[in-house]
């Protein structure tokens, strides 16, 4: 049935597109562009401030664009911070957490969504409940445990406590539950093991969800400040986000132009990653047969 409807859908969509290749579509576009611009005003401020000389950052009257464009802030970042090492550490930490969390969360989520067993619902609630304690309350016990294992100032200490997380399990479980059961049941009738069903049927169909979770996990860890600061007291292990705090001067004064430049460079890998991944959201629809 799916195979039959697919070309139909494509045709219909193309027809829709053609029908709306009219002014209405572009008015919609223009209107939304204005909305987007308004929403992005703070981001635009961040970007343009990175190119302002220090004397303009808090000048009055305030302006969006610098009067005098400068790259000094970027130069300062590279001269004041060991940027390469910080970025590499960030990739190691955020990337490591993302890889393990995606693997472990999807396995557990599959069990909760598909391998109906007694107590699965209670287990799910217990897992969700663990999200409800603020991490400020558990940070010190976690730290003591990591320290006991001798993992302070190591990637193991940074990554292991986050190698699975309740949010990811809950998130993927919701998506796995939404997938029509016909597919995996068909595979089971064909004699596939649960592992095969998981790997060859469920995972390929959950690509948008996996990418979404991957992005969230990566972004959250990349931007996390307190975690790397607490678990790595040695500056050699610092991440880009924790490294940027070192720009703070006496009295908590932050050279804002430099800070914006640093933030811009720090956010670039995330933005590029999302730009690449969001395409897959569309493609995955076309590539999964059941749609």
């Amino acid at each position: 049935m799916t195979a039959l409807t697919r070309p139909g859908v494509r045709l219909a969509r193309r027809a829709t597109t053609r029908r709306h290749g009219d002014p209405g579509r572009w008015i919609f576009f223009a209107g939304f562009l204005i909305v987007t611009f308004a929403l992005m005003l703070p981001v635009i401020i961040i970007v343009l401030t990175a190119f302002k000389p220090a004397s303009e950052v808090n000048a009055f009257p305030p302006t969006l664009a610098p009067h005098q464009w400068t790259l000094d802030n970027f130069r300062a970042i590279f001269s004041e911070l060991p940027f390469g090492r910080l970025i590499a550490n960030s990739f190691g930490f955020a990337g490591g957490v993302t890889v393990f969390a995606l693997a472990f969360d999807s396995l557990a989520a599959y069990a909760l969504a598909r391998l109906d067993f007694r107590g699965s619902r209670i287990l799910l609630i217990v897992i969700i409940a663990s999200l409800m304690i603020p991490f400020q309350a558990t940070l010190i016990p976690i730290y003591q445990l990591v320290s006991q294992l001798g993992w302070v100032n190591t990637f193991a200490g940074l990554i292991a406590p986050r190698a699975a997380d309740a949010f990811g399990i809950f998130f993927l479980r919701q998506f796995f539950v939404s997938l029509p059961r016909d597919l995996d049941n068909a595979a089971r009738i064909d004699g596939a093991s649960e592992w095969r069903v998981f790997r060859s049927v469920v995972l390929p169909n959950a690509v948008p969800a996996l990418l979404t979770l991957g992005i969230f996990t990566f972004v959250n860890n990349w931007n996390d400040l307190l975690w790397p600061l607490v678990f790595t007291t040695d500056q050699k292990m610092g991440t880009i986000t924790s490294g940027l705090t070192l720009l703070t001067g006496p009295g908590g004064i932050i050279p804002q132009g430099v800070m914006m430049a640093g933030a811009l460079i720090a956010v670039l890998p995330l933005a590029i990653m999302f730009l690449l991944v969001q395409r897959r959201f569309i493609e995955s629809v076309a590539s999964t047969g059941l749609k």
């Binding site: 010190i140 003591q144 607490v230």
Partner: protein
Amino acid sequence: MKKLIAVVATAAVAALGLTGCAGSTGASSSSEKVSLTFWHGYTEADGGVLDDIVKKFNASQKNITIKTQTKTWAVIDDTLLPALSSKNGPDIVAMTSDRLPVYAKKHALVDLDDFYAKPSSNTSKLKAEAVSMETVDGKKYGVPSGFVPLSVIYNKTLFAKAGITTFPTTWDEWVSDAKKLTVDSNGDGTPEQYGLVLPDHATVGNGIWPSLFEGNGGSITNAAGTKATIDSKANVETLTYWANAIRQDKISPTGTDGIAADKLFTAGKTAMEVGGPWMAGVATASKIDYGLAAIPAGPKAQAASAIGISLGVTAQTDTAKQQAAEKFLAYFNEKSTATTWSLGSGWPPLRTDVSAADVDSNATVASLTKIAPNTRALLPGVVDSTDVLTAIDTATQKAVAGGDPKQLLGDAQSSIQQALSK
């Protein structure tokens, strides 16, 4: 992956066997080599100077090596507790002085009374007011590494435009000059330029209002830090005086905090700001021609609250490490080190026998040293300073917004008393 599962399983097993106590660091006898970790928040050029002092100390010692780690003050405060709770923390730590009483009270720092008693500690010539920051429940828990008065930074260009040639030295002159510097050119009731920015909450080092209260003979607590004294008649007068100047004469915007005040000064929107010594560098970067002056005297006294930094020895040190740390502190207190440090940090010297002339190679330090004699430690020995400061902020912000100073200070009095008796 299998390997990681194994590791994690081990972790889980370890976790179940845990009782919450941390492992010991192992004792070391005095003849062995001792290596210490030192966390500080001097992130600028001052950090380089401090690291040099440590290096020189290391070179002078056969068995002691100190390793410094630079973090921001906020980061030190956020990470010290977990680190020390597992004995992974620093052996020597620099912290802002408002934080020292809490750590002392909770036994995170070592009591240094015996150290102070030894002549070799070089502590006898330290400024008494600076040392008072280190005293909690009658015992000393640290050595000052910074003690600087709040001062007024002013915009010389705006002063020249208003025709003011000498900086005011009394409150009345201060307010009248500020009025001259306040400009409302379009007459809409909101000045385009303010004479002064006087934050009404979260002020620099939380010290502006305590400085003003003291200028009129008032105080926040008694000397021992056990009784609230904020609802005095003198303080009601002070708060009324300044709330009027801000509300009626509009010499300052309302609702600003210390950070917003810094921005207004660098934007050239205000002619004066009460700030820390670092504002000199910020003003230079913002291309503002500035001068530094003492906070003008109130009816009773010229007083300025201090921004203080202290060095403490943490409770994770064993006897050998504590002795080594004390050796460093003694070295740090030597006259020559103190002079180097004052010049390098840009803060006034901590010893009474280092004069302004000794540090005249740094103009900022020299001028700060001249106004330093009346510097007062802020809430020395008060453990729950956060609640005390919030109570002050609430009173001042509400008064500047139009509240009744007498009633507000009465409210603050009971909140502060409650915080002190916790």
